[in-house]
Amino acid sequence: MKKKVLATIIASVMALGLMACGSSAQAAKNTTDSGSDGLIKVGIINNDPNESGYRTANDADLKAKFTEANGYDASFAYSLKNDEQIQYAQNFIQDDVDYLLLSAADTAGWDSVLQDAKTAGVKVILFDRTIDADSSLYEASIVSDMAKEGQTAVDWLAGQGLSEYNVIHIQGVMGSAAQQGRSGALDTKVAAESNWNIVKQQTAEWNAEKAQQIVQSVIDAGTSFNVIYAENDDMAKGAVAALDAAGISHGVGKDVIVMGFDCNKWALEELLAQNWNYDGQCNPFQASYIDDIIKTLESGGTLSQKTIIMDEKGFDATTITQEDVDNYGI
Amino acid sequence: MKDNVVLQMKGISKSFPGVRALQKVDFSLNKGEIHALMGENGAGKSTLIKVLTGVYSKDEGTIEIAGKGEVSIHSPQDAQNLGISTVYQEITLCPNLTVAENMFIGRTQGAFTNWKIMNIEADKLLKKLDIPASATMQLSSCSIAVQQMVAIARAIDMDCKVLILDEPTSSLDDQEVQKLFGLMRDLKQMGVGIIFVTHFLDQVYEVCDKITVLRDGKLVGEYEIKDLPRVQLVAKMLGKEMDDLSDIKGEHKAYEGKNAGEIVFEAKDLQSNAGIKPFDFFIKKGEINGFTGLLGSGRSECVRAIFGADTILGGTVKMHGKKVNIKRPLDAMKNGIAYLPEDRKLDGIVGDLSVRENIILALQVLNGFFKPFSRAKADEFAQEYIKKLNIKTASADTPVKSLSGGNQQKVILARWLLMHPDYLILDEPTRGIDVGTKVDIQKLVLQLAEEGMSVTFISSETDEMLRTCSRLVVMRDRKVVGELLGNDLTQNKIMSTIAGDGDSEIKQEADLKAI
């Protein structure tokens, strides 16, 4: 019996691996056959849009921009796995696309397939994420500067002029670009300033429930704090739920400053209601940048710079407007 | 130690908390001897075997092995190294490996195995022992008997001097038993000493040279087979002079109460998906009848069909003359039919549940999902039957799996008796249990019938059926071939019916089994 149980577990794990490979590997094609009608053929490889609100907005933005009406014949492929993405890239190259747009799951392993693309005359544009490959292999890369997002937020926090900063720092999945960038600025600041303290630094893995438990644990311990620095909106929401339950006031002019990232629409509404204090943008709207680059390249122009860092804002609850919520909320 | 003695155990004692399982038991085995170890369940046979094979460590006594002098055995591995091998009732080989792999597993030297040589070696040995299997066959594709023989071959090849066969025949049919006996005789010629543990008396008299009888953890004696008639053996095992066993039927009268002669259950053209031909069957109130035939002739399948245990394909069934629909066990139970299945472990007991829960199970199910018995009520039922059937258990809370085989069987019997069925089917109720309990069960069946219960009794031991049944349905090749009653109820008549006219081969087979 024990053997059986073990075998079952092993089998499940293996099957799990297989299914995980299969499930997110749906490639959708918008149009079956074209190219002769003057449309620019693009192949877009992205992460799974179900991954997060950010990714959903990102995918929706791309889909809205790369339409036939805008002169594109676009095919989309999604995967959270690098090797599958590389497979899709090869398919697109064989399919003779004009442009390959890529948000890579992983930074490594792209050299050879991009070399193939170059040989085949396919122009590659990276968006959202960079890769470890020679910059001659792609035309441009449009990225968010996570470190800058963190810096903007920390600068804003420093500008609040508190006499002492006791911060609960809720981190995203450790090692992700967003976590590293957003944690880095805060860590540096805390190390440099004597009146900045980290009360608790914990990863909640982008998970609201975990963030709620982490903040609850600090409250239960009776430790005092006046800043919640959560590396995304979901975790900020979880933290606020714990504050609410414990009767700790938060928001503009209240006991605890609440900071989040990603600019979800509902989060910006919290800012507007002055329940939260700050939300840092992580711009998912890269389609128009890409569109500009392709237009430039198609008209024979050259790009002034290879890496394009998008404008990203940080919103303050005291200055945010309904217009901002509508424009920047995702 | 005498020259031809291979094993000598002297003054072996072993105690468990609260039980003195063995008290100064002596046992000796000669070269080329088949030596039966007999006793009721709990007499100490298993303990003695386990001491010899290193499963238990003895408290007192000495073990001597020819050529090795006094030895101490602390693990089964030790025993194996000393040339003591055991083949158990349950096959302990790996069914998904080949025959050769099973024979050599765990005995190869170094990290590499030459499969080719191994297969050749295995085939050689199989041939020498006349075992109908080839080295590369998967073990699970062999019959149980062949698997057992492979286990024996493995033991022989490990250069064993003492071979212990612990209930090897209980899952074999007669032909297979004969093959096994043939192998045992060959081994005897080769000088191997064999200790044979079994419940089947006739088998003892067929192959053994000597008998050692244990009772209550003590040695009763060692006898040459020719010096100990069967009745004497039983008497020694039970510890009392037995009045002739076959006389118990005479003590009981036939049922004479009201509705005597009424047909309780009647089936016409009943057929299930278990591969039996449609059959007709009936039983009267207070009657004991039985299905007889060789193992695999379809006896069990017939009663399973009556109980709805297999999928019913066709036929009509009447209870007390009224047509009823029995498609599954619950239907049969609602109609007052109870069925004690052939395989106690697989189909009977619910091992981890307590004796109490096992006893009330059937009545509880009949009572309904939403009407559980109170704890007090359940206890009352359990205590009543523990007492009535003399079930030996520490308490009603004891898990049934920790009881001895005979007592487990009594628990299942209690389960069905608690239901107060009109019609009780007992499929091999006495298999694998000690003589004392066997007699208890036979007497109980006769008593129940006297009180008006109809009972169908199936047993591999024909004498048992002759002692209890007043009518026998004879089966051959999954078909009912005859019915015997009155003066026809004799061994010879049964065998000739089973064999059929002119079917000499089966007749010979049956003669071999003569009791």
Binding site: Q213, G222, D244, W266 | L330, G348, V365, F369, F370
Partner: protein, 355 residues
């Protein structure tokens, strides 16, 4: 020492979770006695609430406690585990939000009474359970393999139910289930668990669910020959688990009045299985003790809360739970038990000799 009493204690299924609980409590007591302090305060809505680590454990252990009920039954009947409970919580929760918000991610008011939404979630949870149960009982698929289907697809189904939107429930009353009811300082989840416990206790007392489930888990053949329908009992256990999932989903979704398909109730299936194991129940089925499983669930939450207090990184929690599993497995191994028995005997012997 009374030998018999000790033996009885050891063999009691509650022994392991109680000992684990005592050990955890002792660690916390030595480290910081204020761990056990419970204070009465007010929350931001101005209502009285109790707070403290113990309240946190009771509150956050609720979902697990409820799931442990169903998981125990599934384990006992089928000899396997349902690994899809996390994903089905997402499905049931999503269905609840869909009904409450009417397909609009930001409604002004709720579109249906909460009770209706909850009943729909129950139905959806039970359907998911029925699906798993069907695969296991009729198609005889290993439970872990059968539930792998919903485990993999469940969160996508949940996202699909709400068109990938993340609806937010506007009615503050909805947040009472995972929070506090105004005027009552005890977390509502505690009452929900209590209700579940009472219901299952009544079911076990007034039906034969316990006997049938155990009989089927121990010996399916024998159960069938005693008139029990093993197929139905297995199926039923999955449906009951589905109901537990729906209740857990209510709490989970209510905590934040919204849902995140990819992370809601993440990894809760492993905790639920661990709770069953901690309760001393054989994962291969058969005899069970639901109370031990529920206690096991709170032990796990106690451990989680303790680890948070000790500032263990939350992505390392799984490693600590793995240690618990290892210890459990080792202690329940027959060899170790025998060894412990021998050791105890020797100690008693020495004591006797000394006396």
């Amino acid at each position: 020492m009374n030998d018999n009493k000790f033996k009885k204690l050891m063999s009691n299924q509650l022994f392991i979770p109680v000992i684990a609980l005592v050990v955890l409590a002792l660690i916390n007591l030595i480290n910081d006695p204020s761990f056990f302090k419970v204070t009465l305060g007010t929350n931001n809505a101005g209502n009285p609430v109790l707070s403290g680590y113990l309240i946190t454990i009771l509150d956050y252990g609720s979902e697990l406690g409820i799931l442990a009920i169903g998981m125990t039954l599934v384990t006992a009947a089928s000899g396997g585990q349902d690994i899809s409970v996390g994903a089905t919580i997402a499905i049931a929760g999503s269905a609840m939000l869909r009904v409450l918000c009417g397909g609009n991610s930001r409604p002004e008011t709720i579109q249906a009474p909460i009770i209706v939404a909850f009943l729909v979630a129950c139905l959806v949870g039970m359907l998911c359970g029925a699906f798993n149960g069907l695969l296991v009982s009729i198609f005889k698929i290993q439970p872990m393999i059968a539930t792998l289907i919903l485990f993999t697809a469940g969160r996508s189904i949940a996202a699909w139910i709400n068109n990938n939107e993340l609806p937010i429930v506007p009615d503050p009353k909805f947040s009472y289930f995972g929070g506090f009811i105004p005027g009552i300082p005890i977390p509502t989840t505690v009452f929900i668990v209590a209700i579940c416990i009472v219901i299952i206790a009544l079911v076990l007392k007034f039906t034969n669910l316990g006997l049938y489930t155990q009989a089927v888990g121990i010996n399916e053949n024998s159960s069938r020959l005693n008139g029990i329908n093993p197929t139905f009992i297995k199926f039923l256990s999955f449906v009951i688990l589905g109901l537990c999932v729906a209740v857990a989903a209510l709490i989970k979704v209510s905590r934040l009045s919204t849902i995140n398909y990819s992370v809601i109730a993440k990894d809760i299936e492993m905790d639920a299985i661990l709770a069953v194991a901690l309760g001393g129940n054989a994962l291969s089925g058969g005899k069970f003790n639901i109370w031990a499983s529920i206690l096991g669930a709170y032990v796990i939450q106690f451990l989680t809360t303790t680890l948070y207090k000790f500032n263990v990184q939350s992505d390392a929690l799984a490693a600590y739970k793995a240690v618990v599993v290892i210890v459990l497995v080792i202690f329940s191994a027959p060899k170790v038990r025998e060894y412990m028995k021998d050791a105890r005997k020797k100690i008693i012997k020495v004591q006797k000799e000394a006396a």
